[in-house]
Symmetry: none
Amino acid sequence: MRKTIIIYGLAMAALIALLKYLEYSYFIRELSIDIYIGIVAVTFVALGIWVGMRFTRVKTVVVTEGPIFELDPAKLKDLGISPREYEVLRLISEGFSNQEISEKLFISLSTVKTHSANLFLKLDVSRRTQAVQKARELRLIG
Amino acid sequence: MRKTIIIYGLAMAALIALLKYLEYSYFIRELSIDIYIGIVAVTFVALGIWVGMRFTRVKTVVVTEGPIFELDPAKLKDLGISPREYEVLRLISEGFSNQEISEKLFISLSTVKTHSANLFLKLDVSRRTQAVQKARELRLIG
DNA sequence: GGCAAATTCATACTTTTGGCCGATGTTTTT
DNA sequence: AAAAACATCGGCCAAAAGTATGAATTTGCC
């Protein structure tokens, strides 16, 4: 980003210099204001396109497949995640709804919500998709 | 495209009108040519950015590196998943809400919902968490 | 027994998602 | 030029998810 700004700044400086040159140039003096504006327009359209493309550029995706998944119980303890919460986490990561989870674990929907809410606190997230993402990073799940 | 050209034309017309107005205005007459140029510059930078973003359609880029995650474009084609839908899928898998996705892609919430709904059809799922899970199985994402 | 942590449940409310329509414009293909 | 695929947006409604708060039980442990 810093680099972008610097380049942008340099481009501006160059343009201004060019304009000043034109302003005091013999040959160009006769040109109408329209030509002048045309130059500026073209220059800035190009600049704008460049900026727009830079801004829109996509991050390339690189995924490195790690070693086989192995759960470290100590990690759960560190985060203060209880066994039941971990169960809920796993089921969430498998794409089940809270309702389905409650049926699988024979508990009420309320309870699942409580567990997941506590889970979100402990993982410091606010959505189940984030929880899955983070748990994967932390290698809590495979 | 037609619309693009029309808007472009109107913008040009408006700009020219503005310039003419300035040209014959009492108050503005005193302003230097720089102000003039500034207006043109700003206008065309905006235009350029717009154009730049519009035509920077994202190619899904996958860099192969190390133990690899390699996206098979054929898979996407098989499932009929469009580039835009794939983008949404990736962001969903990273835990973003639809609102956040809409902001990242500069589109409305409605559009994100449309894309995700189509995505769910094509992946044969009904929830984003399931979509992530399935996409991972199919190795559409890492 | 008693305490702390864990598990369970409920109610009420807000936000987010998803389903189901339809609509318009754009891009690519044929 | 017509057709098909893609992308964009909107509204409406229902379902799911998340927040907040409080409370009753169970369980493991000293």
